[in-house]
């Protein structure tokens, strides 16, 4: 009896884990976005960034994270939003993708959200093309929509832009 209870609860846990996904949320202008928590390595305050002349516009440059080179990407530029004021505050969301580190410059970092998979709706057809390409789904929240982004596509947008 007790053995079977343990089995059941493990099964429920597994099912829950499979049906929920956790997202790191961040804000760009008025919009909240989310990326899977698994790929986020850390969140950093602004760092000294070395510019890379001739690089695509949205590449802010390189930063040194404990001896590792991180490519800093300004998501506002990537996603076609207005540029951040020079003195505006921002945060870096460091993600690891294909063995390489990227720092997404975002306006504000929010909570880690656990979202049931069935609460993620397909992207709206009316979304800006650049957004739609990288958007894997939309979550309705009391505070407004959370757009779930795919990092691979975000970085591919970068490539197209270059």
């Amino acid at each position: 009896m007790s053995a079977s209870t343990a089995q059941t609860s493990a099964a429920i846990k597994a099912a829950n884990a499979a049906s929920h996904a956790e997202y790191v949320t961040f804000r760009l202008a008025d919009q909240w976005l989310g990326i899977p928590v698994m790929i986020v390595q850390e969140v950093l305050v602004p760092q000294r960034i070395a510019r890379v002349p001739l690089a695509p516009e949205s590449i802010a440059g390189f930063l040194n994270l404990r001896g590792q080179i991180v490519t800093s990407v300004d998501l506002r530029t990537t996603l076609g939003l207005t540029l951040r004021a020079d003195d505006a505050e921002y945060m870096n969301v460091v993600v690891r993708h294909d063995g390489e580190l990227f720092a997404f410059m975002v306006d504000e970092v929010g909570d880690v959200l656990s979202v049931p998979n069935d609460a993620v709706e397909p992207a709206l057809a009316t979304l800006d093309q650049r957004w739609r390409a990288a958007c894997t789904g939309i979550v309705r929240r009391d505070r407004g929509l959370l757009i779930v982004m795919n990092v691979r596509e975000l970085l591919r947008l970068e490539h197209v832009a270059s």
């Binding site: 890379v52 001739l54 390189f62 001896g67 080179i69 490519t71 970068e158």
Partner: protein
């Protein structure tokens, strides 16, 4: 020791150690088929390799043991301890022989028949031919082998300090682990640099000593880790004897390949990169360099040719030389070929020393064209060889003594992971330039600005007797330059044969830096070779001089040469502007025709088959574009000659050819137009080399070939009433050249023979919208003219352009102070026209 044998010993030692355990375990668990299989495989591998290496004794034992194990696997025998004992005896014997091999590189003498007989006995049991169980007595040991002796001989590392066995002293380590180590040590070195920088601020701090110690250890560690990645260059040479042998057999040649310095070590990454280029060059030497025996005999050489391959360390680099005593390279043939291929102009090629001519062998246009064995054939793919070597920061040079030898010298860095770099700064950013590409540093102060020449919008620096094309880094990287600098620095870079000067604001120092790859998002940028982290934790970009040369187009021979030639011409003009190089040609007119060489882009010969007729016009494929070809003489039949000599003129985007009968000569003479035009297409007649010569009007031909372009130019002046231009110059030749250009651009042109003439016309009440004047004139010179004009309220507003050969900054300053609005150097037509246009537009806006 032979590499193959060394590998075999290392591998066998690892396998045999496991084998003992496996066999013992097998005895306990006879049903374990995976164990049995593993034991079988090990013995099988040893047997196979022994046969390959010619180790017959070892092979015999391994073979017998393998058979027994095979019978076990097949279930024809059962595991029992006597059997296992015999197999273990075989394994011991194998170990014994391996130990001997390691020490002497040869199998020991000995008789294994007893051991083999015992093993074969088990096979008989398996076949059922013997039912008698093996004797319980201990097996007779092989004649030269005794169990107790073996134990004595067994290696004892503890009391054997001096002697290390290969199998003990070698470890197999994954390359990924080595790369990871390299990375970590690199990061450690960076932290060390940061610490040193911090510590240097507090010299008497208690940290000073430990930091010094850390510094020393880190440096040693770095070196040691670098060494782990080093491999002898001989590893890249193993295939070469075979390549040479096959080629010499195929071609009926006798070639001996000598290899020296195979132990020279370099980074494995570099080793991989040079393997193909090396093979290619050796192949070339064997294939095209060394002659057939008969030919060699006739030339008084030994029938057997020699290719000598050598490698050595030379100041942080590895120098590889490939030298053959073959026929050498005939420089004159290369010269002709280079001219034919359009890589260099004929007159420039003649002036080049042989050593320089040979470098064309590395040009893409040279080698891919066709089979060129008659040029001693070093062509095919040498451009690829060069680019591969340059890609790892190396250089390649070729030299040859015709009929005697050819030597190719390759210089490559030891490693790519850590490089020595020069730190420079421009527009507030720091960059690293790999030291291997840097030849020298030049500091240009304000007084030396005269040494900078402006030619067709490109800048050159007069470095001793050469003209160095300048590439301002901030322009290249599209950065905002710091406003007007009094002095700056030129980093003279060498990329292959090309040299250029990278203009930077500051030069800091030289550092050993760890090269880190740039991320994928900026990988496509040619300008960078990677990035690094400096002592203070900043990320800075490492510039790729090869990429920069490509971006700035200083690497291609052609542009460099053309630019340098243009620069030379302008210098020649500056020194002696009355002399002019004129190209003379025959176009079927009674008189010879001439055209200033400065207007000629190139001389070509097109085969008749290349000329295409379309809509009554002739066109030819030229560098990927169709260009029109006109006859210099309307009565000329373009088809009457094959190939047809053509003079190519270029006007920025527009290119066209004028077909002639024969190119006669290039002469330098004082050119004065004696009579004006006799027919369209001719500017006038002058005496050159004591013969009357018609100077052709290139603009007439360009206009006929590209009518639309001049239409646009006319439109661009933006006014329906043509602007009136006064051209002032005491050279009729020059006026003759310039007037049609200006007229063609939609202006009404008047000319004055000197300053006095110009003032006379102004005083007569003639009015001009713009005046373009020479400076050097006898009666009233340009400076006086400008002062007079600016001093007279009636004319003071007229835009003035100085067009002169004088180019020093004093002259420029004097001209601008006198009242010229622009000061241009002869003769850039486009610049003259655009300056005129700009000044007139400005004036209109101001009004």
């Amino acid at each position: 020791m032979d590499d193959l044998l060394r590998d075999f010993l290392t591998e066998s030692a690892e396998n045999l150690a496991k084998l003992d355990n496996d066999i013992v375990e097998l005895e306990q668990r006879p049903q374990e088929t995976s164990l049995l299989n593993s034991v079988f495989r090990t013995i099988h591998t040893i047997k196979g390799t022994c046969g390959f290496l010619g180790l017959s004794r070892l092979e015999g034992i391994a073979h017998a043991a393998e058979n027994v194990l095979d019978a076990l696997r097949a279930g024809r025998l059962e595991v029992r301890s006597t059997l296992i004992g015999d197999v273990l005896a075989a394994v011991d014997c194998i170990k014994e022989i391996l130990g001997h091999l390691e020490a002497t590189e040869a199998e020991p003498e000995g008789d294994d028949s007893a051991l083999i007989a015992k093993l074969e006995y088990w096979l008989q049991v398996a076949e059922g031919t013997t039912i008698e169980p093996p004797k319980a007595a201990a097996p007779a040991p092989p004649a030269d082998w005794d169990g107790s002796d073996r134990r004595k001989q067994a290696p004892k590392p503890e009391d054997d300090g001096g002697h290390h066995h290969v199998s003990d002293s070698t470890l197999r380590v994954g390359v990924t682990l080595l790369d990871q180590l390299m990375n970590l040590v690199g990061e450690l070195a960076l932290s060390r640099n940061q610490l040193i920088q911090l510590a240097s601020a507090h010299e008497d701090s208690e940290f000073a000593n430990p930091v010094q110690q850390l510094n020393r250890v880190t440096t040693d560690l770095l070196e040691a880790v670098m060494k782990t990645r080093m491999q002898p260059i001989g590893n890249a040479w193993t295939k070469l004897p075979r390549v040479v042998r096959d080629l010499s057999h195929a071609n009926g040649k006798q070639i001996s390949l000598e290899m020296h310095g195979a132990e020279t070590e370099l980074d494995r990454q570099i080793l991989q990169a040079i393997q193909d280029p090396l093979t290619h060059m050796i192949r070339n030497s064997a294939d095209h360099g060394v002659e057939a025996p008969a030919e060699r005999r006739a030339a008084g050489k030994a029938e057997t040719g020699t290719i000598r391959l050598s490698a050595r360390h030379e100041g942080g680099h590895v120098v590889i030389e490939i030298r053959d005593d073959g026929a050498g390279i005939n420089a004159d043939r290369v010269r002709r070929k280079a001219v034919e291929r359009g890589l260099v102009k004929a007159e420039a090629a003649d002036a080049m020393p042989d050593a320089q001519i040979l470098r064309f062998i590395f040009e893409p246009g040279f080698s891919t064209a066709e089979k060129i064995t008659n040029v001693s054939g070093r062509g095919v793919g040498m451009d690829v060889v060069r680019s591969n070597i340059e890609a790892i920061g190396g250089t390649v040079e070729i030299s040859s003594q015709s009929g005697r030898s050819t030597t190719i010298r390759v210089k490559i860095p030891l490693t790519l992971a850590i490089i020595s770099a020069l730190l420079v700064g421009t527009a507030g950013e720091a960059f690293a330039v790999p030291q291997i590409g840097v030849v020298e540093l030049v500091r240009v102060t304000e007084e030396q600005h005269d040494l900078i020449e402006n030619v067709h919008g490109a800048q050159f620096y007069r470095l001793r007797d050469t003209l160095l094309p300048l590439v301002p880094l901030h322009t290249l990287l599209r950065m905002k330059a710091t406003a007007s600098l009094d002095s700056y620095n030129i980093v003279v870079c060498q990329v292959g044969e090309a040299r250029f000067g990278l203009v930077v604001e500051e030069v800091f120092d030289t550092q050993e830096i760890v090269v880190k790859p740039v991320g994928r998002l900026v990988k496509h940028l040619q300008a960078y070779a990677g990035c690094t982290i400096t002592g203070d934790g900043r990320v800075i970009m490492i510039l790729d001089t090869t990429g920069i040369a490509t971006m700035a187009q200083v690497s291609s021979n052609e542009t460099r040469e053309e630019a340098a030639e243009a620069a030379k011409r302008s210098l020649a003009l500056a020194q002696d502007d009355s002399k002019e190089s004129v190209l003379l040609f025959d176009a079927g007119f009674p008189a010879l025709q001439g055209v200033p060489l400065s207007l000629v882009a190139r001389l070509e010969e097109f085969p008749l088959s290349a000329l295409e007729e379309a809509d009554g016009h002739f066109l030819v494929q030229y560098r990927g574009a169709l260009i029109p070809v006109l006859s210099a003489n309307p009565s000329m039949d373009l088809r009457a000659m094959d190939p047809r000599p053509v003079i190519v003129f270029s006007d920025r985007e527009r290119t066209m050819g004028v077909a002639v009968n024969e190119i006669r000569d290039i002469v330098e003479d004082h050119v004065t137009l004696q009579r004006s035009a006799t027919r369209p297409g001719v500017l006038g007649v002058c005496v050159i080399a004591e013969r009357a010569t018609e100077i052709i009007d290139t603009d007439y031909f360009l206009r006929r070939a590209h009518g639309d372009w001049f239409q646009q130019e006319r439109g661009s002046t933006g006014s329906h009433t043509p602007k009136r231009v006064l051209l002032v110059d005491d050279s009729r030749f020059f006026l003759g050249l310039l007037s049609p250009v200006v007229r063609a651009a939609g202006y009404t042109v008047s000319t004055a023979a000197d300053g006095k003439d110009a003032l006379a016309r102004l005083e007569r009440g003639e009015r001009f919208d713009i005046i373009v004047s020479d400076i050097d004139m006898i009666t009233v010179d340009g400076v006086q003219l400008a002062r007079t004009i600016r001093g007279n309220p009636a004319w003071a507003d007229v835009p003035l352009i100085a067009l002169t050969a004088r180019n020093s900054s004093e002259d420029r300053a004097q001209g601008l102070t006198a009242g010229f609005d622009a000061y241009l150097t002869k003769l850039d037509r486009d610049l003259v026209l655009s300056t005129m246009h700009n000044l007139l537009t400005e004036q209109r806006v101001a009004a």
